[in-house]
C-alpha cells in the first residue's frame, strides 16, 4: 500500500523548477560560498605575496634560525643574545605559560573565596565581596594593569633601598627579591617521592572505594593521602641529607642582591590578571552554588547525612558540574589576556616575539601567524578537554 501510494504521488508530482528544491538551493549556495572563499583566500595570498615582493621582504620560517641579538630579562630556559628567534619564541611562550599558570592559581583561590563570601550570611563579608566584584570587573583590565604598574608599584622604595620582608626577602621598585631554592645532588629524589606519593594516594582511594562498596567500611582516605603526598617527599628530603637550601637575598648598597628576583612587570601583571579574573570566577562560583536547589540539601539531610558530607557528596559535585565549563573559559581568558603584558613590557610571547622580534626583522606575516596559532592551539586543546569533560559529566536524561 504505502509503496504504491508514494509511487503515485511521485508520478503525479508537478514539474516545478529544480531551483525550488531546498537541497538544490543549498548546493548552489554552497558552491557559490566555496568559490567566494577560495577567491578570497587566493587573493589574500596573492596580494600578500605581491606586496612582500614589492617591499623586498622574503617569506619563510627559516627566520627562526637567525640570531636574535637582543636580551630578555626574564628567562626560565637558557637564553643569550646569540640565541635564535626560535629560542626567543620558547622563552616568550614559557613566560606566557608562567604568568598564566600562576595567575590561574591565584585567581581560582581568590575567586572561590570571594564567590563563597558573596553567599555568606555575614553581612560585612557578603557586602565587601559584592563591592569587590562590581568594582573590579567593570574597570578595563589594561587600566588595572597600568594602575598597579605605574600607580601602585611606583610608590615602593627606590632601587637602592628596599622594604625588608623578613624571611620573604626584600621588596622595592625593581622587584621582589625572594629566597632562592638551590637544588643540590639528590634533590630529584624528593620529586620522585612526590610522584610515588600521588600514585599511592590514587591507588589507596580506589581500593578504599571498592572496599566500601563491598563491606561498607570506610577508610580515612583524605588523611592518608595527605600523609603520603606530603610525608614521602619530606622523608626523602631528610633521608637524602637536606639537599635543598635557600639562598637569601642580602641588602647591599645598591639595592638587594642575590635571591630570586621577581620583576615588577610580573607582579603588576599577576595582581591585575588574577584580581580581574577572580571577580568573574566569583560570579561563576556563586551561580554554581545557587544552581543546586535547596531540595538537594534537604533530601540529603532526610537520608541522614550530616552537614559536612552533604556539602562534600551532594552539593559540591553538582555545583562543580555547573562551575567547571565557564571556569575553564575564564582560565582561557586569563591566558589570552596575559598578552596585555606587552603594554608594560613583561616579556611574554606577544611582547618578545610579535613585538621586539617583529620590529627587528619586519617579518610581520610569519611571526604574527605563529603567535596566533600558538594561542589558537592552547584554546583548542582547552576546548577539546571541555567537550570531553561535558560529555563525561552530562546528566543522563531520559
Amino acid at each position: 500500500m504505502a509503496v504504491s501510494e508514494s509511487a503515485v504521488i511521485a508520478a503525479e508530482k508537478p514539474s516545478v523548477s529544480i531551483l525550488n528544491d531546498q537541497k538544490v538551493r543549498g548546493q548552489i549556495f554552497q558552491v557559490i560560498l566555496v568559490i567566494a572563499l577560495v577567491w578570497l583566500g587566493w587573493s589574500i595570498v596573492a596580494n600578500t605575496a605581491a606586496n612582500l615582493r614589492a617591499q623586498g621582504l622574503p617569506f619563510g620560517f627559516d627566520i627562526l634560525k637567525d640570531t636574535a641579538g637582543f636580551s630578555i630579562n626574564q628567562t626560565l630556559i637558557e637564553y643569550s643574545e646569540t640565541s635564535s628567534y626560535g629560542r626567543v619564541y620558547f622563552v616568550g611562550l614559557i613566560n606566557t605559560l608562567l604568568i598564566a599558570g600562576v595567575g590561574i592559581i591565584f585567581a581560582t583561590l581568590l575567586g572561590f573565596l570571594i564567590g563563597v563570601s558573596r553567599l555568606s550570611s555575614n553581612w560585612v563579608i557578603s557586602r565587601v565581596a559584592y563591592v569587590y566584584i562590581e568594582v573590579v570587573r567593570n574597570i578595563p583590565l589594561l587600566l588595572q594593569i597600568f594602575i598597579w604598574y605605574f600607580g601602585v608599584l611606583r610608590l615602593l622604595p627606590q632601587k637602592r633601598e628596599a622594604a625588608d620582608l623578613g624571611i620573604f626577602g626584600f621588596l622595592n621598585v625593581a622587584g621582589l627579591y625572594l629566597p632562592k631554592p638551590i637544588f643540590e645532588v639528590g634533590s630529584s629524589w624528593i620529586f620522585y617521592a612526590f610522584i610515588i606519593g600521588v600514585a599511592l594516594a590514587i591507588g589507596i582511594r580506589k581500593w578504599a572505594v571498592k572496599r566500601q562498596f563491598e563491606t561498607g567500611q570506610q577508610f580515612p582516605v583524605f588523611w592518608t593521602a595527605v600523609g603520603l603526598i606530603l610525608g614521602l617527599p619530606l622523608l626523602a628530603y631528610l633521608v637524602t641529607g637536606l639537599p635543598i637550601a635557600l639562598e637569601y637575598p642580602t641588602a647591599g648598597n645598591f639595592g638587594p642582591r642575590g635571591g630570586l628576583r621577581v620583576f615588577p612587570e610580573f607582579i603588576a601583571l599577576l595582581l591585575a590578571l588574577s584580581m580581574y579574573t577572580a571577580s568573574f570566577i566569583a560570579e561563576i562560583v556563586r551561580a554554581g552554588i545557587m544552581a543546586v536547589s535547596g531540595g538537594q540539601t534537604e533530601a540529603a539531610y532526610s537520608l541522614g547525612l550530616r552537614a559536612n558530607p552533604t556539602l562534600r557528596l551532594v552539593v559540591i559535585p553538582q555545583a562543580m558540574r555547573v562551575i567547571i565549563p565557564p571556569l575553564t573559559s575564564q582560565y582561557l581568558n586569563l591566558t589570552k589576556n596575559s598578552s596585555l603584558a606587552v603594554a608594560i613590557a613583561y616579556q611574554d610571547l606577544v611582547s618578545v616575539f610579535a613585538g621586539t622580534a617583529l620590529n627587528q626583522t619586519g617579518r610581520a606575516v610569519e611571526l604574527i601567524l605563529i603567535t596566533m596559532l600558538t594561542y589558537l592551539v592552547i584554546s583548542l586543546l582547552t576546548a577539546s578537554f571541555m567537550n570531553w569533560y561535558n560529555r563525561r559529566m552530562a546528566l543522563v536524561e531520559r
Binding site: 550570611s121 567593570n138 589558537l376 584554546s379
Partner: protein
Amino acid sequence: MANDNQNVAFVRSEMLEESVPPNRTSGVVKWVWDNVLESMTNFQTIPASIISILMIILTFGAAYLAYIFVSFILSFAIINGVWDGVDRTACATLVQGGVQPDNWFGACWAYVDAYLGQFIYGRYPLDERWRVNIVFLLFIGGLVPMLVPSAPYKRENIIFMAIVFPLVALILLTGGNLDFEPRFIGSGKLGYAVEFVIFSLIVAGLAAAWAKGTASEPMPAFKSALIVMGVIGAVFLTVAVPFGLEHVETEVWGGLLMTLVIAITGIAVSLPLGIVLALGRRSEMPVARAACVVFIEFWRGVPLITVLFMSSVMLPLFLPEGVSFDKLLRALIGVALFSSAYMAEVVRGGLQAIPKGQYEGAMAVGLNFWQSMRMIILPQALKLVIPGIVNTFIGLFKDTTLVLIIGLFDFLGMIQSSFTDSTWSSPVQSLTGYMFAAFVYWVFCFSMSRYSIYTERRLHTGH
C-alpha cells in the same frame, strides 16, 4: 464547681501594656546579631569553632580592607583633592616646587579639568567640536527611547539608529565629501556613479533571472533588488556630497569619542554578522557550517591584541597594491570581526533556547527559511539574549582600551599621553588620571550591567 473563683489568689482585671521585646530579638541589635555575629560565635564543636575563627578573621579582614579602600579614596580624591589651579605648582608639594604642604598626597582634579576637552575629543579641532557634540546628542536622543521599554515608535527608532544615525555621524565626524574611485570607467565620482548604476542593473537582472528560474514573477524581484541598490546608492550619494564641512582626519580623533566610535561600530557590525554566523553554524549545509565554525573558533581562540597587531600590520599586506585603509578603520575591522565571533555564540545560545515547536510551527504555516527566521525565531531568540548582547558590549567597551597599544589615542590612551606634558607633571598626576579613567569606565560599564540585569528581570517569564 461554682466556688472555683475563690481558690484563685489573683486574677488580673485589665491587660498589661505590651513590653518591648528583648534587645536581641529586634532592632539594630538583632540585625547585627543575625547578620554579623551569629556566624562567628559557634564554639560548640571543634569544626564549628574553626569556622567561627575563620569568620572572625575574614570579617575583620574584609572590614579593614573596606576601611583602607574607602579612606584612601576619600582622603586622596576629596579631602586632599585640588580643584583649582593653572599648572603643576597647584599639585606639587613645596619640596617638589609647588604650593602644597609636605606629605600632601591628593588628586589633582585641576589637571583633569584642564585636559577634559582632550579626554573627550582627542585632538579634534576646537572649532569643529560642535559636530562631535551633535553626534553625541543624536546618539543619546536615539538610544534612550530605544532602551526604555515603554517608549513608543520602536520601529522608527531602530531605523534611525541603524541607518540615519551612522550616516549622519559619519558625515559630521569626517566632514563627508568622501572620494570614490571607479575601477573601470572614467574617473572621479561621476565614473563611480555610472559604474554603480551598471552594477545595480546587473544585480537586479540576476535577481530577476533567479525569480524566473524558480518559476515566479521576475518583475517584483527586479524592482525590489533595484530598491535595495537604490538605498545603498543613496547612502553613497549622501557621504559623497560636499556639505561644506571641513574634512577632519581620523588621526586627530581621540579620547572618549574614539572609544565610543570603536565600541559602537564594533557592536553595530558584530550584531548582524554574528546573527549570520550563528545561523550558519546551525545550518544543515556542511560547507557553510564548517566555514562558520572555523571563523568563530579562530577569532575566539586568539587574544584581541594579536588581532589588532594583525589588522595594523598584516591587513595592509592582504589588500591589492594602492588600496590602503587608515589606522582607525583597520582597528575597527579587527575589533568588528573579533566581536562578531563572540556575538555569534551569544546569538546561538538564543537560537538553541527556542523550542523546536516554534521552528516546526513556522514551517507548518508555509514560511520559508528567511521568513521564519525574520518573523518567528529571531525576534524571540534576540529578545532572550539581550543580556548576553549587553554583556558582550561591556566586554567590547572595556577591550577598546587595547587600541592604545597599536598607537590609537582612545580615552585611556589620551590620559596616558597627557602624562608627558610637563605643565602638569607631578607625582600625583598619573594616579589622578587613572582614577578618573577608572571612574568613567566604571560608570559606563556598571550602568550597562545594571541595564542588562533589569532586562533580564523584565523578560523573566518563569515562576
